[in-house]
């Protein structure tokens, strides 16, 4: 896979060169830039922040284009929020899928909460991201997904691209979070209900008013809650802490899952990233979280060859926060997590 920042004119040429059944493309950019592209075999999502090899940038004029040359076939469809349980239907026998979902939409909420229970969700690699907008944009500016085959934009639902791979290739998906769990069991958090907000939590087994607890303890809510999913660390980021309305999150907390606070990073994000993230990102499709971009001070600073949009939520089978997701296509027998 190859990811590049291109002008709209360059991206349009690439789409035209491929034709309607050309090499599948995943494109991130501003609404204006995406709407200026011709129809073709691509899906797009609104994003204005990008991690490039030269450093993080905010760019509404250019688009970030990822080519997927190893795909032998593709199927693009828009899935309305009410039909999300059928998200995986139409997959190829050997393949992977890429999904885009607009932030703050019904589909965003439904996928985040119900997605892990969709039939066959974990059977093939599913990667994607939640589309966004400028951080200072008015709430009326809606994040979008755009179906390149028709040019239609959607502010809700999921846009999915199923991709077929040749028999000797397979997709490998992985996540990189720089945050470890705090070791203190007295500061474990569990929730009785699944949702994007909570008024109370059990902290070390004691029920507390969560907003009050976070405030009184001076918890740095730029750091996420971290759950251990059988060895995969899954972050949920704090969105707002309010004495009146409770605590909201950028992904749902799940009932029955134990969360710990994240330990602060020992080094600034770019240095910690370089220390923990090895390999060549140049052949991978990746996205990273807008909160890492903001809190990690990534504007103008590089995460090496791991490039991609800075997104309002990352998807590796399920919705994640403050995480880099990466996908690569490897030889079939090499399918093991590094």
């Amino acid at each position: 896979m190859k990811t590049q920042m291109l002008t709209v004119r360059q991206a349009a040429q690439k789409i035209r060169d491929g034709g309607p059944s050309g090499m599948p493309l995943v494109i991130a950019g501003s609404e204006e830039a995406l709407r200026a592209l011709p129809c073709g075999n691509w899906i797009g999502g609104t994003a204005c922040y990008f991690l490039t090899e030269e450093g993080g940038i905010c760019d509404s004029a250019r688009v970030m284009v990822t080519e997927i040359p190893s795909a032998t076939d593709s199927l693009i469809r828009h899935v309305p929020a009410a039909e999300l349980p059928s998200l995986t239907s139409g997959r190829f026998g050997n393949g992977m899928s890429f999904v885009l979902i607009p932030a703050f939409s019904t589909a965003h909420q439904r996928f985040a909460i119900d997605g892990p229970g969709y039939e066959g969700l974990f059977d093939q690699p599913l990667m994607g991201w939640v589309t966004g907008r400028l951080l200072e944009a008015e709430p009326a500016v809606l994040p979008l997904v755009i179906d390149g085959t028709t040019g239609r934009a959607h502010a809700d639902g999921a846009l999915i691209m199923h991709l077929a791979l040749p028999p000797d290739r397979m997709a490998r998906i992985d996540i990189v979070t720089l945050f470890d769990q705090d070791a203190d069991p007295a500061r474990s958090f569990t929730f009785t209900e699944t949702g994007f907000s909570a008024r109370t939590a059990l902290v070390g087994g004691q029920e507390v008013d969560l907003a009050t607890y976070l405030t009184e303890q001076g918890i740095d809510t730029r750091l996420p809650l971290v759950a251990d999913y059988a060895g995969a660390l899954v972050n949920v980021s704090f969105r707002e802490v309010s004495a009146e309305s409770g605590v909201s999150f950028y992904a749902p907390v799940m009932a029955g899952v134990e969360y710990r606070l994240a330990r602060p990073l020992a080094l600034p994000y770019p240095e910690e990233f370089a220390r923990q993230c090895s390999g060549d990102g140049g052949s991978q499709l990746a996205c990273n979280c807008i909160l890492n971009y903001v809190h990690g001070g990534l504007e103008g600073r590089s995460t090496g060859s791991f490039t991609g949009p800075a997104t309002f939520g990352e998807i590796a089978y399920m919705l994640l926060n403050q995480t880099m997701v990466r996908l690569e296509v490897v030889a079939a027998e090499g399918e093991r997590v590094a």
């Binding site: 059977d123 251990d228 060895g231």
Partner: protein
């Protein structure tokens, strides 16, 4: 490695325990973790969870290498 039958107790053990699956693919780790939470919250859902996990390995040759890690303590 052959896939144990649906009725082999190894599946139940894998879902009742909490060992980490460091070497497994991301999808396997997430699925097992989700099913463990499910059966902890609703113990009666164990048969459904076992069927899902068994079906996952039965239909996905790509993740067969994960199987020994998932059922190792029950072996």
């Amino acid at each position: 490695m052959n896939i144990p039958s649906l009725y082999d107790p190894c599946w139940t053990v894998a879902l009742l325990d909490s060992w980490r699956l460091e070497g497994c693919s991301l999808g396997t780790r997430m699925l097992v973790a989700r099913l463990r939470v499910q059966v902890r919250n609703v113990p009666a859902s164990m048969p459904e969870a076992v069927a899902l996990l068994h079906g996952y390995f039965n239909t996905n040759p790509a993740v067969r290498d994960d199987l020994p890690d998932v059922i190792r303590r029950a072996a």
